[in-house]
Structures are given as C-alpha cells and as structure tokens.
Symmetry: C2
Subunit: 402 residues, 2 copies
C-alpha cells in the first residue's frame, strides 16, 4: 500500500484520539454481551408512530424541505424552541440568538472553531463528556480541570485556578459545564454554584458553555434555573439537543446565546456542513407542533426512572458495598462508580470475560485520573438485563478483590 | 453589550470569511429580483412523491433509524452506493473505503482536519469552489493556484509549481480538483490531463481530492473515467453528493478512498457531529432502492439542459458580444463570464439596481483575481426568467461600457 496519505497527514490527524467507546464496539457486539457502555436512549421509548405522523410535511412542503436550508436553521422549529425553552432560559430568545446544529455535538465543534486557538485553555469539569474533550482537543485546546462533587462542579476553587493559570501566561477561553446530571459523574450543579459561576465569569471575563443534553430528563426533585437565565449580560451560551427528549437519529440540537457568538458559530457551520437537513428539522417541528414533545416526555422519564432505580437496587444487591460507592443521579443516563481499590482497566477485561461491558473512567479525565472509576449507562437495557449485568460485574469485582 | 465573547474569540474567528453569497442574501431577496447567484437545484425537479414513498421505512425500522447511527454511515446505503458508483470508480469500493457525510461539504472540512496544519499548502484550481477555499482556509491552509482552461485544470504546469513551492520550503498536502463542469468555470478535465495528474501525484507523493458534485448531471458528450479509477495505488479520494442528483435537503454526501484516509475522516467526523442522520440516510436509501435515482436523473438532466441552452441563447441575444465571452458547459450548474473591460463589482451594483443578481468572480480565487468575471447559475430559474434576467444584465453592461 502506498504511504501517500500517511506521509501527508496533519499533526492533528497523527494525534487524534478515537473514542474509547467506538474502540470497544467490536467487543460490545459479541453475542451474549450486556453493555452498559454506550449512552444510548432506549429504543422502546422512541415515539415512532407520533414522529411518523409528521412525514406528510414532506409532501406538503417538499420543494422547500428538499432544497438547501438556511445555515441558521429551520425558522418554524426555532420559533417553537424559543417558546418551549423560555421557562428554562428565563425568557424567549430571539431567532438570531439561536442556531440549530447537527446534533449538539456540532455545537461543541463550532465552539472550538469560534473560541480556541492551539494552546488555549478551557476550564472543564473533571470528569467530563469525553467527546467534548475530544472536540476541543482536536482544536488544540488544553484543559484546566475542576473536580465535580455531589453538588456539581466545585466552582469555589475556579478563581484560584484562573489566577494561577493566568500567572503562568495561560489563555483561558471559556468554562465548559454539563450542569444537570453530569456525564459521567451524574451530579447536578446547585443554584448557589450556578450563581457563583456567573460571578466568576463576569469577574474574569471568561464566557460559559452550558451543555444540557439531559436537563429535561429529570426523575426526582425540581428543575433549577439555567446558568443562561442567571446572566443578564449574555456571557453564557446554552446547548440543547433532541437526542434525549425525542431521538438521536434526528441529529438536531441547538445553541442559544448572545448574537455575536451565534453569528460566529453560524459562519463556521457554513464551512463545515452548509446547513442541517431541512427534512429532519421539519419532521422534528411537526412532532413538536402536535404537542408530542410535552406529552411523550413523561413516558421517557417513567421508563428511565424505573431503570435507574433498578440499577441502584442491583448495585446494592450484587456489588461489594465496602469497596464501591456511587451517587444516585436525579436524572440523566449514568451511574458513576468509585472503586478506590479496583483498577478499572483490569476490571474491564475481567468483566468482558463475563460478558458485561462498561466504560472505564480514564477517558473522561482531560488531564489524567479516573483509574478507579466506571461509567454505567442505565437507560438502554431492561431492568432484568441490568440486574444480570450488574451481577456479572459484582462477580468480576469479587474475583479481583480476592 | 458585554464584550465577553469578542475578547475571547479565536484568531480563526477573527479572520473567518463569511460566504459572499450569504452576505448578499438580503439583496437577493428583494421583491422582483432575478437571482443567478446561488447554486441551487430547481425545486420543480425534486422527486417529492417518489422520495416520500420511502417514509414508511420510519415505521418499519423506526427504533433503528431514530437511534444513533454509526459514524461510518448507514450500511444499506453504502452497499447501494458501492454498486451504483462502480462504473465511475472502476470497481466496487468496499464499505470501509467509504464514509457517508453530512453533505459533501463535510467531506471537505474533514479533509481539512485530516490533512492541513496551519501554513500548509493545497493546490487548487483558479477559480475554484468558494466554500472549499473557505473550509480549507479555516484550517489554516494557503493555496497554490493553477489556472483552469477549457480542458480543465492546466495540470501541465503543476510540476514546476510544486518544485518552486518546495524549493521555498512550502508543504503541499493535496491537490483539490472539481473534475467535471467545474464550479465556477464550467470546464471538464480531459482524460489526458486526468492521467497526467495521477502521474504527478505519484511522482511528488501528493494525494488528490477529486470533488465531483456535478458529474452525473451531464447534458452532452460522454462520461469520462474518474481520476480515482485511474490510480490503482489509492492516492485519490473521491467526494460525491446527493444534492444535485436527488436533493440538497437530504444533506447526504460520500467520500470513497483508501481505508487509511477514510478511517481518519471517520474519527474526525465523530468529534464534529457523531454521525449523519440515519433518518435521511434511510430515506435516501429507500429512494435509491426503488430505482428512482436512475429513472429520475434523466428528468433533471432534461430540465437543466433546456435552461443551459436558454441561458446560452439569451447571452447571445442580450450581451455585448465583443465584450463578453464564455464556454458552454457540458454539464453542471454554471456559466462563467469573462469580461476583460468590465469591473465585476461595479457591474454587480448596477445589476442589483436593475434587479438581477450574480456572484462576482473574486471570491472564487484563493490568491486574488477574478475582477472581470461573473458566475451565472442557470438551473434554478425558468427559461423565461433567465431571458429577462440576462436582458437586464446586458443593459447594465452596456450602460457601463458607454
């Protein structure tokens, strides 16, 4: 084989990190494997029939939906979202304060384009969403990582971290936080910390990217105000997605924020994919217009609440409780296991032998760590499968601890 | 307004070029305006009903299509494309030699990720597709531009250009060519030059990106072998799209090439949008499976051939023929006007007064030029509207030449 490609790759290509989840796909697909690795919604809660009711839009407005759309996004869907998100945003954002994206993942990449020069720093939670770390890393970012506890990101230590970094000449471009039911740690940032974070943003002139893919999937307790709603000065951009409240296959997410940053993201989006599909944007809009977003969400929540409770119960039943701890999340998709005496990588290999998969902690840490953590998804499998999988995991742990 | 965003923008964001077509949108949308500016297919040739027939796939395979898809793309559509493109590719490419993308625009961005470090050079045609120039520019590319004549890119001068550039320490990463009915110049690369280009690629170890959005939309003459098919060593990556042979709203394109480069593009795609929508991929597949791609293409070609001939006739009727020249393209979407004594920018302002729009030549040139060129799209408007628009343009030209 010719080396013509390899010898011409960019440095980015030489250093790019493939997703660890992707890398274990062939392992996960083995027959009989129970996987808690992916972050996938349960197929049984997809509102297939309701979503399909919108397809006549393709006949009625075919020439428009089959044409190129605007880069900014399908206006009727933006109008809908502006109203639907208003309670969380504190107000209706205007259409030029919103960009529709090809999944909220694209919003992360576009933030890289707009904000990050190679060598710049992003303040991230430790641990954090691994595909966000990768997206920012691809743009040349480095990371100042702030721990997460049961009340979310430990924002109290951010000022000192900023001052130390700036004294070292580091250029910090934004603060990235997954506010609700954090991926992977599961915790939610308290209102007090949200307010404190906005103060820090103002004081140090560092904007905030508030990523909220799971925010509407809450099983207990009350919704908290978004960080966006707490900052009247427009220093927060909020990223949302239909992946968890409707279906990932739509590949439709959104960013809401100050016009200046939305405009920059839009210009970069044009060079990356011109526009998201007007077809899926219209299908999502039709679904929303018929009221299904609100009427179906309780089904999703009920399904996942039962599974969360099932996994929690299975943990208590099957895991060595003096060796493993976790916080029961109020929403979202994941449990995060803390196992101080268990090496996650060794446990993974042993678990795979027993036909159960999870994601080891390390890839969620931008600057190292996570050797004794495991992320466990509870939304995809049935309570029965969850119990069997956790039982296998417990056996693997006990064998290791012998 | 807080300056929190602007003061934290990346250098890329400070230097990003918004599309000139986007910038004139508000002008184009004025009532009564005839626009030859965009590169849009005609809405009347969209196979709305045929495309809609595929929507039951959403009911039949709903849980699968609403879930996350693989980054590599929807396997049935890849299987179909592998067969359908075989005559042009010289063989059936295997599934791991193909990546489905969110429009072929995403393929360009991914090539930037995989190949370009800031300061690297790309060999481009002069003029070339402006959103390709922008995508590569955003990745920090500079350009070595090679003129286009009636036989396509003037490949004969590339060796000297490479040697000169290398002597100056420049790092050339790939050669970018739009082989058929080039955007904007309209010309098609001859078979002789295609072969010569592969020789150059081998000799200098520089791979080729063969962009072919218009290749299946040919009005006269015979299809030529792709450059991909002429290089058994795998140094050519081919980019195709459904935008012009079905509809842009699907946002589905593809890249075919050596496994190494496809794998790199795939890893970068994961960080930019995880996957393209399985919904639109499945809708496109259903349409293809029913045989409509082949049965409908002649309708598109007949519609556009008539419009191309109409614009050519209107040019001869209304333009000052001793001041304007053009080559009648054998396919594609555009005429390219050469107007040695007319400043395109001044003409544009005068034309807008007369309610007709086009794109000035300059943005298509990576290193300057094009001050006396205009790109005219003929696919979108009816022959009657084309005639009226060209008449207005001719009046604007005559007033300028007085």
């Amino acid at each position: 084989m010719s080396k013509i490609w390899e010898s011409n790759f960019s440095n980015k290509a030489k250093n790019v990190r493939p997703s660890p989840i992707r890398e274990i796909l062939s392992v996960i697909r083995q027959p009989g494997m129970i996987s808690f690795a992916g972050g996938m919604p349960a197929p049984e809660v997809f509102p297939v029939k309701e979503f399909h009711k919108g397809v006549d839009a393709l006949l009625n407005d075919g020439p428009n939906l089959l044409q190129y759309g605007t880069t900014e996004g399908y206006p009727p869907l933006k109008e809908f979202l502006s109203g639907w998100t208003a309670p969380r945003m504190g107000r209706k954002v205007s259409l030029d304060e919103m960009l529709l994206t090809t999944g909220s993942q694209q919003g992360l990449d576009l933030m890289g384009w707009a904000m990050i020069d190679p060598g710049d720093y992003i303040i991230t939670e430790d641990p954090s969403y691994l595909a966000a770390i990768t997206a920012f890393h691809n743009h040349g970012s480095r990371f100042i990582s702030i721990p997460v506890d049961a009340r979310g990101m430990v924002v109290e230590i951010i000022p000192e971290a900023i001052e130390k970094a700036r004294a070292e000449g580091k250029n910090i471009k934004f603060i990235y936080t997954i506010v609700n039911f954090q991926n992977p740690a599961g915790s939610t940032m308290t209102l007090e910390r949200r307010k404190k974070l906005v103060e820090i943003s103002h004081k140090y002139n560092i904007p905030i990217l508030e990523d909220d893919p799971y925010g509407y999937v809450r099983y207990d307790g009350e919704h908290l105000p978004s960080i966006f709603s707490l900052d009247p000065d427009g220093g927060v951009i909020y990223a949302g997605t239909f992946s968890k409240i409707l279906a990932p296959g739509t590949r439709i997410g959104w960013c809401s924020g100050n016009k200046d940053i939305i405009r920059k993201l839009t210009v970069f989006k044009q060079a990356t994919d011109l526009c998201s599909s007007p077809i899926t944007q219209a299908l999502v809009y039709e679904y929303c217009k018929m009221g299904y977003l609100d009427s179906h969400l309780p089904n999703i929540i009920a399904n996942y609440r039962e599974k969360r409770d099932a996994m929690d119960a299975s943990f208590r039943k099957h895991l060595p409780l003096d060796e493993v701890s976790w916080v029961k999340p109020e929403g979202g998709f994941f449990f995060w296991l803390d196992m101080p005496n268990i090496d996650a990588k060794t446990l993974f290999d042993k678990a795979i032998e027993k036909k159960v998969a999870f994601v080891i902690g390390a890839p969620f840490f931008a600057n190292g760590g996570g050797e004794h953590n495991a992320r466990m998804n509870f939304t995809f499998s049935s309570p029965e499968v969850i119990d069997e999988g956790v039982k296998r995991l417990g056996e693997a742990m006990r064998e290791m601890l012998k």
